[in-house]
C-alpha cells in the first residue's frame, strides 16, 4: 500500500511538470523598502506596481520550459525574478504581476512582453526589444528603451529618458530633464512640464502640445521629420529655427527674422510674448509649424 502511494505521488510529480508547463504563481515574501528588484520575461506581459508595504507579492500565469522554471532568487536587498530562457524558438506568453515596495529600484527586461509600471518612486531602468512600455507615477528617475514598442511616460521625475528605433514616444507629466530619441518613431510631448528637454528623430515627427515653462530650454532635432508646436495663445518663448531645406510657419503672427547662409540653409528666429522659454529647432529638410490652440 505504502509502495503504491509513493508510486502514485512520484507519478503525479512527474506529470505535474511537463516539458513546457503553464502554471499559476502566487508568492509573497518580505523585502527591504528600497531594495533592488530585477524582473525579466520574454513574451507576455510584466506589470509592476509600487505599494506601501515592505513585501513583494508576485502573481500571474507563467510558462516553464525544459531549461528554466519561473523562480524568485535573492532576498533582502536584491531580488531577481522571471523567465529568460532564450533557447526556445518562440516563448509562450507569461503574465507576471509584481507588487513591490514603492521605493524599490527596479530593472525590467523583456523580449516582446509589454511592460506596465506604476507608483514606483525609486529609480527605473526598463528595456524591451519589441514590447510596449508604459510608466506612470513618480519615479526618482526613469530610463526606458524599446526598439519597436511604443513608450509612454506619464510621470513626475527629475530625469526621464526614452529611446526607441521605430516605436512612438509619448511624454506627459513633469520631467525636469527630459530626453526622447527615435529613428522613425514619432515623439509627442503632451501637457508636460519640462525644464530641459532634448528631442531627436531622423524622420519621425516631433510634436509638442501644451505650455512652455518659463525659463525652460528645449531642443528639437530631426533630419526629415516635421516639428509641430501647439501652444496656448499667451505663450512667452523665443524660437530659433535652423534648417537646410526645410521651412518654418508660425500662426502666431510674430515677426520672423530670417538669415540666409552664404551657400544654403537658413536660420530664423522669433519671440512670442515676453520670451522666457527657449526653443531651438534644427532640421535638414523637416518643416516646423507653430500653432496656437
Amino acid at each position: 500500500m505504502t509502495g503504491r502511494l509513493i508510486g502514485t505521488i512520484a507519478l503525479l510529480a512527474a506529470t505535474a511538470q511537463p516539458a513546457t508547463a503553464q502554471r499559476e504563481i502566487a508568492e509573497r515574501f518580505a523585502a527591504v523598502a528600497d531594495g533592488y528588484v530585477r524582473v525579466q520575461n520574454i513574451a507576455g506581459s510584466v506589470k509592476v506596481i509600487g505599494w506601501d508595504r515592505d513585501s513583494i507579492a508576485v502573481s500571474g500565469t507563467v510558462y516553464d520550459t525544459p531549461a528554466e522554471r519561473f523562480e524568485v532568487q535573492g532576498g533582502d536587498g536584491a531580488v531577481k525574478l522571471g523567465l529568460w530562457d532564450t533557447s526556445v524558438e518562440r516563448a509562450e506568453p507569461s503574465h507576471i504581476e509584481v507588487r513591490l515596495p514603492a521605493r524599490s529600484r527596479v530593472w525590467i527586461r523583456t523580449g516582446s512582453a509589454a511592460i506596465h509600471v506604476s507608483n514606483v518612486t525609486g529609480g527605473l531602468d526598463v528595456n524591451s526589444v519589441g514590447g510596449d512600455i508604459e510608466v506612470r507615477g513618480e519615479p526618482r528617475e526613469v530610463f526606458v528603451e524599446s526598439m519597436t514598442g511604443r513608450v509612454t511616460l506619464d510621470v513626475r521625475t527629475a530625469v526621464g529618458r526614452a529611446k526607441t528605433v521605430t516605436g512612438a514616444i509619448l511624454m506627459r507629466g513633469a520631467i525636469a530633464d527630459a530626453t526622447a530619441t527615435s529613428v522613425s518613431g514619432n515623439v509627442l510631448i503632451e501637457d508636460a512640464t519640462i525644464e530641459r528637454g532634448s528631442f531627436e528623430s531622423v524622420d519621425g515627427e516631433l510634436r509638442f502640445v501644451g505650455q512652455l515653462r518659463r525659463g525652460s530650454s528645449l531642443d528639437f532635432v530631426t533630419h526629415a521629420g516635421a516639428v509641430e508646436f501647439l501652444l496656448p495663445a499667451a505663450t512667452d518663448a523665443e524660437f530659433r529655427f535652423s534648417t537646410y531645406e526645410g521651412g518654418l510657419r508660425s500662426e502666431f503672427g510674430a515677426q520672423v527674422r530670417t538669415t540666409i547662409s552664404k551657400i544654403k540653409g537658413s536660420e530664423q528666429s522669433f519671440i512670442l510674448g515676453q520670451g522666457g522659454a527657449r526653443v531651438n529647432i534644427r532640421t535638414f529638410r523637416g518643416r516646423a509649424i507653430v500653432r496656437s490652440r
Binding site: 526589444v129 519597436t148 530633464d177 531622423v202 532635432v221 533630419h223 537646410y244 540653409g265 534644427r282 535638414f284
Partner: protein, 222 residues
C-alpha cells in the same frame, strides 16, 4: 580590447560620456567581459543613489557638461600634459588613425553580411586644411571607428535576434545612413555650417544608439 577597462573608462561608460572613438572599443570589450559589465552596473547603481541626494547641491547636467567643456577647452588647466597630446605624436596618431580608419571602412564595405555594414559611405575627402574641416573630418572618423567596433560586436551575436527584429534594425539603419549621407554631402559643400555639423553628429549618435541597443539585446539573448 583584451585588458579590462580602466577606472576612467568604466566611469565614462556608466555616465555614457565615453568618447565615440573609445565607446566602440569599450562596447566590444563589454560584450565579452562580465567583470567590467558588473563594475558598470555598480557605478550606475551608485549614480542612481547619488541622484536621490538633495538637488540643491547637485549641479544640473548642463552645468557639468559646461564645466567639462571648459576644462577640455583650456589647456592651461591641464599642466600635466599627457604624452599622447604632444603635437608631433598627435600628428602621427592622426595620420595613423586616418590610415587605419580607411582600411577598416574599406574592409567593412567588402563584407556584405551583417546588419548595418557598408551602408555608410566613407567620409568625404577634404581638399583644404582649415581647422573646421579637420575637426569635422576627425569627428566623422571617430564615429566611423566607433560604429565599426559596435558593428563587429553585433555581427558576432546578431544570430540571437529574431529575423523580424533584424529586418527592422536594417531598415532603420538604412534610414539613418541615407540621412547621414545627405547631411554629410551638404556639409562638404558648406563646411563651416555649424547646424549641418550638429545634424551630422546627431545622425551618427542615432546610428550608434541603434547599434548599441541591438548589440545589448543580442547579448542578452545569446
Amino acid at each position: 580590447m583584451k585588458s579590462h577597462l580602466d577606472e576612467q573608462q568604466l566611469n565614462d561608460c556608466a555616465d555614457d560620456t565615453l568618447d565615440p572613438a573609445d565607446r566602440g572599443r569599450a562596447e566590444a570589450h563589454l560584450a565579452a567581459c562580465d567583470a567590467c559589465r558588473a563594475a558598470i552596473d555598480r557605478l550606475r547603481q551608485l549614480r542612481s543613489e547619488l541622484a536621490s541626494l538633495p538637488r540643491s547641491i547637485t549641479p544640473p547636467p548642463h552645468v557639468l557638461m559646461g564645466v567639462r567643456a571648459m576644462a577640455l577647452a583650456a589647456p592651461a588647466l591641464h599642466p600635466e600634459r599627457r604624452w599622447y597630446t604632444r603635437p608631433p605624436l598627435l600628428a602621427a596618431a592622426a595620420v595613423l588613425l586616418v590610415v587605419i580608419s580607411s582600411a577598416t571602412t574599406a574592409l567593412l564595405l567588402r563584407q556584405p553580411s551583417g546588419v548595418g555594414t557598408g551602408a555608410t559611405a566613407p567620409p568625404p575627402t577634404l581638399s583644404t586644411g582649415s581647422a573646421g574641416l579637420v575637426a569635422v573630418h576627425a569627428m566623422e572618423r571617430s564615429y566611423e571607428d566607433a560604429i565599426a567596433e559596435v558593428q563587429r560586436a553585433l555581427r558576432e551575436q546578431q544570430s540571437s535576434l529574431a529575423p523580424e527584429t533584424l529586418h527592422v534594425l536594417q531598415a532603420n539603419l538604412d534610414i539613418v545612413d541615407r540621412a547621414l549621407a545627405e547631411a554629410r554631402s551638404a556639409l562638404r559643400a558648406d563646411p563651416g555650417n555649424d547646424a549641418l555639423t550638429a545634424l551630422v553628429r546627431s545622425g551618427y549618435e542615432r546610428k550608434l544608439d541603434v547599434l548599441r541597443s541591438a548589440t545589448s539585446h543580442a547579448r542578452a539573448r545569446s
